[in-house]
């Protein structure tokens, strides 16, 4: 493999639309970035924000949530719950310094393999540009952080107030 950074994206795919979309993408031999690793849930409404946080903590560079289009949810409106949580979660993750592009939501119906595939490609590139997240190393890894090089510049900032 090339030396470039290969992001690892955890994808939560709903059983009825997006998981099948991914199946279709494969069956249609659509080639897309191998960086997304799928986890099947019955509905995007099952995606507990804890799952996203867990994935980030465990070292994922990004998380993709995929479901049926609003109005087409197999469970009527589970995806509406999903988007409500997603929007609030994104707002909170912004506070925690997680870049927007690292968690994304996409609607892909069972017939939209191409949409899912291109979303994965797009997201992979965006995250590649951002670089690794690797929470445990870069964020917590520097132990108690008394030498937290990242934050150093801020000291000067502070000092030449």
């Amino acid at each position: 493999m090339s030396e470039q950074f290969e992001p690892v994206i955890v994808g939560f795919l709903c059983n009825w639309c997006s998981y099948r979309a991914a199946d279709l993408a494969g069956t249609a031999r659509i080639k897309y970035a191998p960086n997304m690793r799928s986890i099947r849930v019955m509905c995007s409404g099952r995606v507990d924000p804890q799952f996203v946080l867990k994935a980030l903590r465990q070292g994922a560079d990004g998380v993709l949530i995929a479901g049926c289009h609003p109005g087409e949810c197999h469970y009527v409106n589970g995806n509406i719950k999903a988007i409500r949580r997603f929007i609030l979660l994104k707002k909170m993750l912004r506070q925690l310094g997680v870049e927007e592009q690292r968690i994304q939501l996409v609607w892909a119906s069972a017939s939209e393999g191409i949409i899912l595939a291109s979303k994965v490609d797009e997201m992979t590139e965006q995250i590649r540009a951002l670089g690794p997240l690797n929470w445990n190393k870069t964020v917590l890894g520097s132990g108690n952080g008394h030498h937290d090089e990242i934050a150093e510049p801020m000291v000067e900032e502070v000092l030449n107030v």
């Binding site: 804890q50 946080l53 009527v76 506070q95 964020v139 150093e152």
Partner: protein, 339 residues
């Protein structure tokens, strides 16, 4: 006398409320005094660290450790007391899960210093003096503890036997726990399994909360000063963020009863990994915006509008559990720093 079990209580990064709470168990404090010898209790008795260092290992029977680990001193003391104690109890929210001090994990050590020593209306620091770990003085070298970048819970630096949640723990709970320990020490009664959380109901605060609850649909959020809550009705339904549903009970739901949404100080329910994530999920789920059948951007817009009325989600949902949350702290060079 010297046969009495030894009790220690140490104060790391915390407000001191926990000490007060121990003294606040009313007449029972006398029993405590009867039962225990105080081995170390900076708040109420004059002991020095070297006294503790002098004790043989395991000399202290029960150490109630309160406060989060904020700096090198806290960590040293934690290790020292662990060595000298049979039972290490993470006493109160700070020691258990970081509590208010851990909110500074949302920003950097430097930003914290900036607020504390410079950028603050009540500060006058013309020479921009920052505390240094080492300062040379004519009299010699002065040292200060190193200030950690990340606030940690007690069990993130040492091994903890029991957890007693609450900010501070409520007297009845404290007494209940002390009784168990006393029972064990004096009458050899069985102790709860190591690592268990004691002094709580195991069910969310709502169970203890008398307010009337019904199906929830939130169309906007209010900060406490923005609204006078309808008495007798679930605050969450009125748009006031109340962490009760995601917080383990034991406090008697004191806050909601006086119109203040539960802050969440008793922490998540047993088995829940991330209190903030859970509360966020619950609250977002009942946002009354976005319906199947609407245009996709329309749905997003509607929800965005409601979410916009919820200030500082991280601070709200992780007010007490930041250090124990899945992400534990903010990423400093990320885009959203210090929002």
């Amino acid at each position: 006398m010297s046969e009495k079990p030894k009790l220690a209580m140490y104060w790391s990064a915390s407000c001191g409320g926990c000490e007060i709470s121990v003294l606040n168990i009313h007449e029972h404090i006398l029993t405590v005094d009867e039962v225990f010898d105080i081995a170390f209790f900076p708040c109420i008795a004059d002991f020095k660290v070297k006294d503790v260092e002098g004790y043989p290992d395991g000399y202290i029977d029960v150490c109630l450790f309160n406060g989060a680990i904020r700096n090198s001193e806290g960590e040293e003391m934690a290790h020292l007391l662990r060595k000298k104690s049979k039972f290490m109890v993470a006493y109160g929210s700070c020691a258990y899960e970081g509590c208010i001090p851990a909110l500074s994990n949302l920003t950097s050590k430097e930003a914290t210093f900036n607020t504390v020593y410079f950028d603050n209306p009540s500060i006058d620091n013309p020479n921009h003096i920052l505390p240094q770990e080492v300062t040379q003085m004519p009299e010699g070298e002065l040292t200060l503890p190193a200030f950690w970048h990340t606030v940690k819970a007690l069990d993130q630096v040492i091994d903890v036997d029991y957890y007693l949640p609450g900010c501070p723990p409520e007297p009845p709970q404290i007494w209940a726990v002390l009784q168990v320990i006393v029972g064990a020490l004096l009458e050899g009664k069985p102790l709860p399994p190591k690592g268990s959380m004691v002094g709580h109901t195991g069910v969310a605060v709502c169970e203890e909360c008398p307010l009337e609850k019904s199906e929830k649909t939130i169309t906007r959020f209010y900060r406490p000063y923005e609204i006078v809550p309808e008495p007798g009705i679930c605050l969450l339904e009125q748009g006031i963020v109340c962490n009760g549903p995601a917080t383990v009970g034991g406090c008697g739901a004191l806050c909601p009863q006086v119109g203040m949404g539960c802050r969440g100080c008793y922490g998540p329910l047993p088995g829940v990994e991330d209190q903030g994530g859970k509360m966020l999920s619950a609250i977002a789920s009942v946002i009354g915006a976005g319906e199947a059948g609407m245009e996709e951007h329309e749905i997003e817009q509607q929800i965005e509008d409601v979410v916009a009325t919820l200030a500082d989600p991280a601070g709200t949902f992780y007010r007490f559990s930041m250090a124990h949350s899945l992400l534990q702290r903010a990423k400093i060079n990320g885009n959203g720093k210090g929002e």
